[in-house]
C-alpha cells in the first residue's frame, strides 16, 4: 500500500516574466514503511514537490494538474487529495505536522531562537493530539529520549542557540516525529552537517523509522546518502522525472544519461589516482595566455614553500566585563607543525570547529598568532610571514590568495565582474587600464566563462559560475599559493566535479600550490597529494593521501573515514560501529593517542612519511617527527 501517491503533478509559478513550470507531470509513490529518495541538482524542483505535499507552496505557485493522494495506513480517515485542499484551510492544517511532517536542511535557522526546544517540539502535540501542556511536556521528553538527546529532561528547557548543529537537527526530528506521522519528508537533512554527525543523523532517521513504522521521502543530491538510506530512487531534472526504480536497479544499471552523468560526478575512495571525474558540463581551460606571463617561481618543486612551526592561536570567547574575572579562551590552534611543499596539494580535513579555517587564515596573515612561526619561501629562503612589513607584505599578499567557501556572500553584489577581477590589479598597481581589461578577459577564458559576462553583476550567475569568478579573482595576481577554504561545500555534486577539475587543471598549467581545506574526505582524497587531519585545534595525522585513506592509524581519522557515506550499495555505512561523539573528544582517545589540555600534541612518524599525533609514544623513546 502506498502512503503517498503523486500522479501527473504539474506546478506553475506565476512570476513577473510569466509562467514558469517548476514541476512537470511528475508521478511516483512512497510505499508504506519504505524510504524513497528524490535526487536532483538544485533548481530541479525537488523542494517544490516537498512544498506541494506539505501544502506550503508560496502563493504565486499553482498546482495546475495532478493528484497528491495521502492514504494514512493507521488513520481512520479516508485518503485525501492534497492537491485539491485549500493550503491554509483547516483540513490541510490538521494534516501538516500531524500525518505528514518535514525536516529542513538548516538546523541553525529552522528553529525559533526565542523559544525553548521543549516548547517548540511540544507545540505540535498540543495542536494535534489534544493533550494538555503537561502531557505534551512528557511526550516531548519521551521524543527527546528517542532521538538520543544526552539529557532529555534538561533538553526541554534549552534554547536552540545553546545546542550544536547535530543536536538541533535531532530536536527537529523529534519535532517532526511527535505526532507519529505516516510520512516524513527529509529535505536535505544532513547537507549542512559534518560527516560524522551526518552518519549519526542518518542512523537516527533509520532507527526512528523502524520504531514508528513510517515512510520517508528523502530529498538529497548526495548519492552517498541515497545508497545508504533509500529503497527506491526517483531522479528528477528540470522538473521532470528522468528515471525511477529500486536503489538496487539504479545503482547497478543506470539507464538514463543524466543519472549516469550524476553518478560519474561523485568522487569516491576507490578511484584510481589519475581517474578524472566527469562533470555534466565540463569546462575548457584556456591557460595559454596566462602561462607565458606567469612569473617563474624560484622555488623548486618539492621544496618547502610554507612551514608552520609550533603555531598557537587562542580565541577569547567573551570579553571580560567590568566585574567578571579572567575571560574564557579556547585554543583554536595547538602547537601546529606543518609543511606545505611547492607544487603539491595538501588537504586539510576536520569537523567544523577543528581549526582548519583558522590555520588557513593564519597562513594568509588574516589573523595574528600567539606563538610559533609561519614561514614562507619567496625564493630566497624561508621568511617569517608575521614579521613582513610594507612592500614585503604587499608582495606576500600577491603571492598568496584565497578562494572562499560561500560564492554567494564572497562577491560584492554592487561590483561588476570586471570590477571584481581588476580590483586586485589596481590595488597592486599592475599594468595600464588596457592591460588590466585584457587580463580580466583572459581570466574569464581561464575559468571557462564568456568574457562578454564581464559587465554583469554577480547576482546573474549560478553558484558554480560565481565560484569560478571567485577562482578567477584569486588568480588575477598570478599567485603561487592558493588557500581553498571549502570551495565546493556549498555546491551541487555536478558543479563540484566541475570546480574540482578546474582547480586541478589550473594547478597543472600555472604551477600552483594548494592548501585545500574541506570536511569532505572523498573530495580531499580526489584532489590532494597529502592529507593533514585536524581535530580540536590539533593536528592528528599527516601523510600521503593513499596512505592515510587506506591505512588510517589515528582513531579520529578512522572515525572520519568510516562516517563517509559511499555512493555504492556494496559498502554501506556501518551504523552499528558509530559511537556517538567519542571519536572527536581528544581526552577519550585510547593510549597512546590520548591528548588532554597541557600535553603537547607531538607528531610521531609511525610509518615512513606517515605522522600521527601520539603523545603517549614520545615517552617510550620513539623517534620524534617534525612532519616534514
Amino acid at each position: 500500500m502506498n502512503v503517498l501517491s503523486i500522479d501527473g503533478l504539474t506546478v506553475d509559478f506565476n512570476t513577473a516574466e510569466g509562467k514558469v513550470r517548476a514541476v512537470d507531470d511528475v508521478s511516483f509513490a512512497v510505499p508504506e514503511n519504505k524510504t524513497v529518495a528524490l535526487v536532483g541538482e538544485s533548481g530541479s524542483g525537488k523542494t517544490v514537490i516537498s512544498q506541494t505535499i506539505m501544502g506550503l507552496l508560496p502563493t504565486m505557485a499553482d498546482i495546475t494538474e495532478g493528484h497528491v493522494v495521502l492514504s494514512d495506513p493507521h488513520g481512520k480517515v479516508p485518503p485525501v487529495d492534497i492537491a485539491t485542499l485549500d493550503r491554509k484551510g483547516k483540513t490541510m492544517r490538521s494534516l501538516r505536522g500531524n500525518r505528514i511532517s518535514i525536516i529542513f536542511q538548516e538546523p541553525m535557522t529552522s528553529l525559533s531562537p526565542l523559544h525553548t526546544i521543549g516548547d517548540q517540539i511540544g507545540e505540535a502535540a498540543v495542536l494535534h493530539r489534544d493533550c494538555s501542556a503537561a502531557e505534551a511536556r512528557d511526550l516531548t521528553q519521551e521524543m527527546l529520549r528517542l532521538v538520543q538527546f544526552p539529557d532529555p529532561k534538561r533538553g526541554l528547557d534549552t534554547y536552540p542557540f545553546e545546542l550544536s548543529g547535530g543536536l538541533r537537527q535531532r530536536a527537529m526530528i523529534a519535532m517532526a516525529m511527535i505526532c507519529h506521522p505516516a510520512l516524513l519528508i527529509a529535505d536535505e537533512p544532513t547537507t549542512a552537517l559534518d560527516v560524522t554527525i551526518q552518519a549519526e543523523i542518518l542512523k537516527l532517521i533509520k532507527d526512528v523509522q523502524a520504531e514508528l513504522k513510517m515512510s520517508v521521502l528523502m530529498i538529497t543530491h548526495d548519492f552517498g546518502v541515497v545508497a545508504n538510506m533509500a529503497d527506491e530512487v526517483v531522479v528528477i531534472y528540470h522538473g521532470r522525472i528522468m528515471e525511477k526504480g529500486t536503489a538496487q536497479d539504479l545503482f547497478s544499471n543506470p539507464k538514463h544519461d543524466y543519472l549516469k552523468a550524476l553518478l560519474n560526478a561523485v568522487p569516491s575512495f576507490n578511484m584510481d589516482r589519475d581517474e578524472r571525474l566527469m562533470p555534466i558540463r565540463p569546462i575548457e581551460v584556456k591557460a595559454d595566455s596566462l602561462k607565458q606571463r606567469g612569473t617563474a617561481s624560484k622555488v623548486a618543486p618539492g621544496q618547502p614553500l610554507v612551514e608552520m612551526h609550533d603555531v598557537v592561536k587562542e580565541f577569547t570567547l567573551r570579553k571580560g566585563g567590568l566585574f567578571s574575572t579572567k575571560p574564557a579562551s579556547v585554543r583554536a590552534l595547538d602547537m601546529i607543525n606543518l609543511t606545505i611543499k611547492k607544487g603539491e596539494c595538501l588537504g586539510l580535513v576536520g569537523e567544523s570547529g577543528s581549526g582548519k579555517t583558522t590555520a588557513a587564515k593564519a597562513i594568509l596573515r588574516a589573523i595574528e598568532i600567539e606563538e610559533g612561526t609561519i614561514r614562507y619561501n619567496h625564493g630566497s629562503g624561508l621568511e617569517n610571514v608575521h614579521k613582513l612589513r610594507g612592500p614585503d607584505l604587499l608582495d606576500y599578499r600577491r603571492r598568496v590568495q584565497l578562494i572562499f567557501q560561500d560564492p554567494f556572500s564572497s562577491l560584492n553584489p554592487r561590483m561588476t565582474v570586471n570590477d571584481i577581477l581588476t580590483e586586485p590589479l589596481q590595488i597592486h598597481n599592475i599594468g595600464t587600464a588596457a592591460e588590466q581589461a585584457e587580463r580580466a578577459r583572459s581570466l574569464m577564458d581561464l575559468v571557462g566563462l564568456d568574457p562578454r559576462f564581464l559587465r554583469r553583476y554577480p547576482h546573474s550567475f549560478s553558484g558554480g559560475q560565481r565560484q569560478r569568478i571567485g577562482i578567477a579573482r584569486a588568480l588575477a595576481l598570478n599567485p603561487e599559493f592558493i588557500l581553498c577554504d571549502e570551495p565546493t561545500s556549498a555546491l551541487d555534486v555536478s558543479v563540484q566535479a566541475q570546480i574540482l577539475n578546474l582547480l586541478q587543471d589550473l594547478k597543472r598549467d600555472l604551477n600552483l600550490t594548494y592548501l585545500f581545506v574541506s570536511h569532505n574526505l572523498a573530495v580531499v582524497d580526489y584532489i590532494a597529494d597529502r592529507i593533514a587531519v585536524m581535530c580540536r585545534g590539533r593536528l592528528v595525522e599527516v601523510g600521503e593521501t593513499r596512505e592515510v585513506v587506506s591505512n588510517p592509524l589515528h582513531p579520529y581519522t578512522r572515525a572520519l573515514l568510516s562516517a563517509v557515506p559511499e555512493p555504492d550499495l556494496n559498502t554501506p555505512l556501518d551504523f552499528a560501529a558509530l559511537d556517538a561523539n567519542r571519536a572527536s573528544e581528544p581526552g577519550e582517545w585510547p593510549e597512546p593517542f590520548r591528548v588532554v589540555d597541557g600535553i603537547e600534541p607531538v607528531l610521531i612518524e609511525m610509518e615512513p612519511n606517515h605522522f600521527v599525533c601520539a603523545p603517549g609514544m614520545k615517552t617510550r623513546g620513539a623517534l620524534e617527527g617534525t612532519a616534514a
Binding site: S110, S112, L114, E123, F161, M172
Partner: protein
C-alpha cells in the same frame, strides 16, 4: 539575571559622569559666561554701579575658577565658595536669567514633561503596533498603501502646523481652550478631579502632534522588521507543524520583530524632547523645551546644563528599561554568556 541588572545599573554611573562632563564642556565652549557678558554690556553703557554686585556673583558661583574646578564644583565633587554644594548634594544651581534657583524654574515643568513624554511614547506604540502588523502581513494591499500614505503625510507635515490645525479643530468641536496644558481657570488651583480631566483633555493635541512623526517612522520600521522575519525558515517550520496563521504570527515572527521596537524606547526620549521645543512654544506648553531654548540663548549655563543632564538621565533610564526588557524577552541576550562558555 539580577547580576545582569546590577551590572547594567552600575555601568550607568560612569556613563552619566562622562555625559555631565561633555555637557559642561559644550556649554562653556562659547567665550565668557552669563555674568561676564552682563558686565561687558554694563561697561559699554557706562554704568558701573551694579558691576560690583555682579563681580560678587561671579565669585559666589565660582565662575572665576579654572575650568576643571568649575566642573567639579558644579557636580559637587569639589568644595566651592560654600563648601560641597553641587548636583550630588541636591543643589541644581542658580538661574541667572530668572534670578532664582534652577529647581524653582524647572521644578513645575518637569512632571509635565515626563507625563507628556510618557503619553507620547504610549501613543506611538499603541498606534504603530497594530498598523505595522497589518501592513506587513498584507503587504501591497490597499490598506498597506493607505497607511503608508498617511505615515508619509505625518512625517512630512511640519509639527507646528499640525498643532495649530488640531488646536483650532478641537476648539471648534469640543470647546477646548487654546494652548496650555489645562484650562485657564485651573492654573494655580489646588489639584482636583476636574483639573486632572482638564489636563488629560489638553494632553491629546500635543501627544498627537509630537507623536505623529515617531509613529510614522515606527510603522515603517515594524513593517520592515516583520517582513524580514516572515520569510525566515523557522516560520515555515511553525507552519509545517499545522499552526493557524494568526497563532503562528503572534508566537514567532512578531516576537522577533519586537526587539528593535523595544530598543527604541531609549532613543525616542531625546528626540521627543528636542523635537517638541517648537511645538511647546507654539502650543504654549509649560515643558522644559522652551526653557532650555532660552537658557541656551542667554548662556544661562547652570539652567541649560541641568536640563540637558535631565534629558540625559531620562534617556539612560529609557535605555535601561529597554535593555532589561530585551533581556527578559530574548534568551540569547539573557543566556548568551552561558552558551559561549
Amino acid at each position: 539575571m539580577i547580576y545582569y541588572m546590577v551590572r547594567r545599573i552600575l555601568t550607568m554611573i560612569p556613563t552619566l559622569l562622562v555625559i555631565s562632563f561633555l555637557i559642561f564642556l559644550i556649554i562653556e565652549l562659547p567665550a565668557g559666561d552669563y555674568i561676564s557678558n552682563q558686565i561687558a554690556a554694563l561697561r559699554t553703557s557706562g554704568e558701573s554701579a551694579s558691576i560690583a554686585k555682579l563681580e560678587f556673583l561671579r565669585k559666589e558661583f565660582a565662575l572665576d575658577r579654572p575650568f576643571f574646578e568649575r566642573y567639579l564644583i558644579w557636580i559637587g565633587a569639589w568644595p566651592g565658595p560654600n563648601g560641597f554644594d553641587g548636583l550630588l548634594q541636591g543643589n541644581w544651581g542658580w538661574s541667572f536669567e530668572f534670578d532664582k534657583p534652577v529647581n524653582e524654574v524647572v521644578g513645575p515643568t518637569l512632571p509635565l514633561t515626563i507625563v507628556l513624554n510618557f503619553a507620547t511614547i504610549l501613543f506611538v506604540y499603541i498606534v504603530s503596533f497594530p498598523i505595522g502588523m497589518y501592513s506587513a502581513t498584507r503587504q501591497y494591499s490597499w490598506g498597506d498603501y493607505g497607511f503608508t500614505f498617511l505615515g508619509y503625510l505625518g512625517l512630512a507635515v511640519p509639527n507646528f502646523l499640525l498643532g495649530l490645525i488640531l488646536l483650532y479643530l478641537f476648539n471648534r468641536w469640543f470647546g477646548l481652550s487654546v494652548g496650555g496644558l489645562m484650562a485657564p481657570e485651573y492654573i494655580d488651583q489646588p489639584f482636583s478631579f476636574d483639573k486632572l480631566m482638564s489636563i488629560l483633555a489638553h494632553l491629546i493635541v500635543p501627544t498627537i502632534v509630537i507623536g505623529t512623526s515617531g509613529t510614522a517612522a515606527m510603522i515603517r520600521r515594524l513593517r520592515a522588521n516583520l517582513l524580514d522575519e516572515l520569510h525566515k525558515q523557522y516560520v515555515t517550520t511553525g507552519r509545517a507543524k499545522g499552526l493557524t496563521e494568526r497563532k503562528l504570527l503572534t508566537k514567532y515572527p512578531l516576537r522577533m520583530a519586537l526587539n528593535p521596537f523595544i530598543s527604541d524606547i531609549g532613543n525616542l526620549i531625546p528626540s521627543l524632547v528636542s523635537g517638541s521645543v517648537i511645538v511647546s512654544v507654539v502650543l504654549n506648553l509649560p515643558t522644559v523645551g522652551p526653557v532650555l531654548l532660552s537658557a541656551l540663548q542667554s548662556q544661562d549655563q547652570f539652567l541649560a546644563g541641568f536640563i540637558l543632564l535631565f534629558v540625559a538621565v531620562l534617556t539612560l533610564f529609557g535605555m535601561l528599561v529597554s535593555d532589561i526588557l530585551l533581556a527578559v524577552l530574548d534568551p540569547r541576550i539573557r543566556l548568551g554568556g552561558r552558551a559561549a562558555s
